[in-house]
Symmetry: C2
């Protein structure tokens, strides 16, 4: 029995499981939540091996998961003197972490959609398509405008939501 796997109190196990479901439902995969939750409730830094044993995941998953979480600033690498292993502990600056994740995920999606919209506008505007029902043309123009307006609204609302967590 490894130090990591003994004595994870059952309520903590439940929280780890819940965190896994949570990140899964957000499309981030189960392991990210599990790894973070495990480290979050563990007082001392832990190694990749600890993670594979405690959570029953593969070395590969642990390695990739840890890297991703570190990139978001959710984990802090810790060097323990005289030990080759990489140790990690969970950081608890949720605001910053969340912001990084949102930027990484949602930001790109909004941007991609904005681009698609702009391209469509350009493709339609300059070429009042030959042989196409002008009523339909006008309708589409109007819908594009409504959509564009909403897009702006979203982006500003999104901005203030994200900014609300930048504060320390």
């Amino acid at each position: 029995m490894t130090p990591a796997s003994r004595d994870i109190p059952s309520p903590i196990r439940s929280l780890i499981e819940a965190a896994g479901h949570f990140t899964q439902s957000l499309g981030l995969g189960r392991v990210l939540g599990q790894i973070y939750a495990f480290l979050y409730f563990t007082p001392h830094p832990r190694t990749l091996d600890d993670l594979t044993h405690a959570l029953g995941i593969s070395k590969g998953s642990a390695s990739m998961g840890v890297r991703q979480l570190a990139q978001w600033g959710a984990l802090e690498p810790v060097w323990v003197k005289g030990d080759r292993k990489d140790y990690y502990r969970a950081r608890d600056n949720f605001g910053r972490i969340l912001k990084n994740i949102l930027q990484d995920m949602a930001g790109k999606r909004l941007e991609a959609s904005a681009m698609a919209l702009t391209e469509a506008e350009h493709a339609i505007h300059p070429h009042p398509s030959p042989g196409i029902d002008p009523d339909s043309e006008a309708f589409i123009q109007q819908r594009l405008e409504t959509l564009r307006a909403f897009q702006h609204k979203i982006q500003s609302a999104w901005g203030s939501f994200a900014v609300g967590f930048l504060s320390k």
Copy 2:
């Protein structure tokens, strides 16, 4: 060639595709975005058959997709006199639609996480576990508190984000 499939201008096709990717990336599935976008840029109400032909999706997908979208208030059923078919048109009250979707999806997730947290607190608090490192115990308590505090912060921020779109 059906009325629905002829003459979808290529920029609109692109937007339909983009909408599909968008909803896919949000974990809603590709078809929802496609169906909505197609109807959004179509002046007249359309039937399930039109959808299957225009988008190349199965009858089943069209049926389920339309139902889901209607449930969110994104589509409006239209009855055309003397025609048995169900017709649908896209509504453009994005604010309300978004709110419904968020409530349906994110709300449940936050709630589930909140419950898991509460249960863990109850499980730990009343039973200062026998034979477990008291330092560890204190650490866990403290982390639970931090987490709980953030959870409140999120819920209130989320609330105001959602409310921002209730208007009109």
